[in-house]
Assembly symmetry: C2
Homo-oligomer: 436 residues x 2
């Protein structure tokens, strides 16, 4: 430690926070395939999405502007918890005895506990701005539902959250968190929607799935002009809002005179990794050498085991078809603790970049990622979310590879959220009861 050069954390003041998001769409080497209407299979126009989203978000979905200004009201809320710190993981490096430098962007410091608040605030703002007072959404593990509850609370919007039943039952404190911030939460499938009733008719004890919960939230929004829908991942505008993560990280790395050799993030729908990697991807399109590693669970191997094709975003086939890596929209993954990674599809832009070879995919089993999370907790102190543990595992593997090869690479990963509401997984790991 005597030769410590970089600080433990690079902080930025609020006047150093980026004031625009980076939109990767105009920079893509091949144009993004358009979403298709679920019935006609023709490319969707704005009018097809208008029942679900405010117009400003629909515009962002297809925008060709390279930078989109962050509205002042959104910036003001960001500034209550952003810029987030970027850490050098000295203690982890020491225990791994690696010549690599490990850096992590700490999104767990948001009051909602993850990166999800970055888009929750933006989406709530654009809805409020167009006069919307009611929003529906779904949540799996609960990170998104709680973040949007807080985001909607800031702008006086009423929110209904369809929470996958198995999470609803296993995570009572996620429900409490959502209610503390003023939203309502229901165990999905519910009797409130056709989609929910259809599932319950077949299986009254259905544990639910993200695909079902999306169907319910979309249905409720679609049938009422006064109600819009909000999605926490996958879509282009969601990934756009998360680019604040990568933009800040670039500034912070530059302040240390560093640039990452490899950038890592976990992928469920793909928003946290998209947000981190897109600003670096811009450099890669311009010829810069940087590896991008997307990490997923072996039990839901969308990028590493799925097909790149058009598929529905939900179980009931009500969303537009999007071209993405998918395991099929009827796929129900096993109940691993990383509930946020249990989604059959992935963000279309991210999928496209994987398909074109710009991004690598890697998959790990559950016990391996908890083992990595334990190492991280005992060195860096932070108890990460099971989702984030996937990124930690990949970072440790990269650092171990460096030890073998003797290379001193810069490894950067997105610490997307803390696991303080997900301690059951740690409990099972400690008791030796965790299975893959």
């Amino acid at each position: 430690m005597a030769n410590r050069v970089d600080p433990y954390r690079v902080l930025l003041n609020e006047d150093e926070m980026p004031t625009s998001w980076y939109n990767i769409l105009p920079d893509l080497p091949i144009p993004a395939p358009p979403p298709l209407h679920p019935v006609t299979r023709e490319p969707c126009g704005p009018e097809d999405l208008a029942p679900l989203f405010p117009m400003e978000l629909i515009k962002q979905e297809v925008s060709e502007e390279q930078y989109i200004e962050i509205p002042e009201e959104v910036q003001n809320i960001y500034k209550t918890y952003r810029p987030s710190p970027l850490h050098r993981a000295y203690q982890l490096e020491k225990i791994l005895d690696t010549p690599a430098k490990i850096f992590y962007k700490n999104e767990s410091v948001s009051p909602a506990g993850s990166h999800k608040l970055n888009t929750a605030v933006a989406q709530a703002y654009y809805n409020k701005n167009e006069g919307i007072k009611h929003i529906t959404t779904e949540t799996g593990a609960g990170q998104w539902g709680s973040a949007l509850a807080l985001g909607c609370g800031f702008f006086g919007i009423d929110l209904k959250v369809f929470m996958v039943r198995i999470s609803f039952d296993q995570k009572p404190y996620r429900r409490t968190m959502i209610e503390t911030w003023g939203a309502e939460v229901f165990a999905s499938p519910t009797e409130m929607t056709n989609a929910g009733r259809a599932v319950l008719a077949e299986d009254p004890n259905s544990p639910g799935s993200l695909g079902i919960a999306i169907s319910e939230a979309v249905e409720m929004a679609a049938q009422d002009d006064a109600v819009k829908y909000s999605l926490g991942s996958v879509l282009n505008h969601v990934c756009l809002h998360q680019t604040i993560v990568g933009l800040e990280s670039k500034i912070q790395m530059e302040k240390m005179g560093e640039y990452p050799d490899v950038v890592i993030g976990c992928v469920g729908g793909g928003s946290n990794f998209s947000g981190m990697i897109f600003p670096f991807m811009k450099d890669k399109f311009e010829g810069k050498s940087v590896r991008a590693v997307a990490v997923e669970p072996v039990s839901c191997p969308t990028l590493t085991g799925g097909k790149y094709e058009y598929d529905f975003g939900d179980q009931a086939e009500t969303t537009p078809l999007i071209k993405m890596y998918t395991l099929g929209h009827k796929f129900v993954p096993s109940p691993i603790h990383a509930g946020g990674l249990r989604y059959h599809g992935g963000a279309p832009i991210l999928s496209q970049l994987v398909n074109e070879g710009y991004i690598e995919g890697v998959a790990y089993p559950q016990t391996a990622i908890f083992e990595a999370a334990m190492t991280f907790a005992r060195t860096e102190g932070i108890i990460v979310a099971p989702e984030t543990a996937h990124a930690v595992k990949a970072a440790i593997d990269e650092a171990n590879n460096c030890k073998e090869s003797g290379e001193s690479k810069n490894i950067l990963f997105n610490l997307s959220g803390h696991g303080l509401l997900d301690l059951r997984g740690y409990e099972e790991y400690l008791a030796g009861n965790l299975v893959d």
Copy 2:
């Protein structure tokens, strides 16, 4: 918000972190009354404390040096999460429609979730430095037990935590957190000590208390030379380590050109408030006008309803007698959610300053503090610990007083910890089941 002048948060870089703690002992207007031996009732010498604490901490307990240098290894761990941010609560001010400015020091950003890590790291370091490999402690709500687990983990020390049984049963995830960081945790009273066995003989279903858990942890340390004991509050050296909180806050307020008119903190044993207020108290001794408000629960009104006299720190009368405000060492407070404030006594220095009129005490019932915590969660976003909610309530009351009087005062409080492991209290509040 158009006339926002102060930033939302004042951050400090690691090279701006204070490198010494502030020791208030030499500045006290009246010398601190010494602790007395539990049997002889003579003032304790270092030899009386040596079975329990490493010598460096015993020296700090009575040091006359105004500033004590923070060891480099402790500074290095501090720098992984400190300096912590100081926030201006614009959103809370707005909803209260107050002319007051409200500031809060955010200690919830430590990986352990509270200020407790500040002394946990220091105590673990001094023990390690004197060759100690085993420590015992007690924990009530779990904040201290988890912080010390992490602190001991950093220095390779084995830790045994006696956790008050009612918390042990109600908070399984606190136990998981403690174990994740590598410590062992037992439901107190246990069969492992004379003190525990004596209580269980009388009541096999005893819910335990902090006083009993302290007796157990002290007994186990006292009977084995290789084992030391660690306390998370009350003692002078603990309050000393927490002064990093107030020292940073002063720098951060200065950076905005501000000085607090009133400084607020919750008080159980008294460490978070001591840490915040002592550096300001120094100014007050020198004639500066600053009010200090210590906040406690009406169900455990040590400062507002106790007597200032010599009493034991534990239930079994094994600790030295210390002069403090106390409700009597046999007092068992009602099972409120703010478990960290359920202690019969208080830090002797803090008690002395209350007795001499330098610090005011105020007490609130449980429903009032959760109502304040809800307001805070929905404006500033952070879900605070039930303990911290006491400080939030007092800050809101001060701001409301300013609204009535039209005064624009600067209100500063210590946000000592988050409540993400204490959501049961919020759940009961939301369900309307919370009682005082």
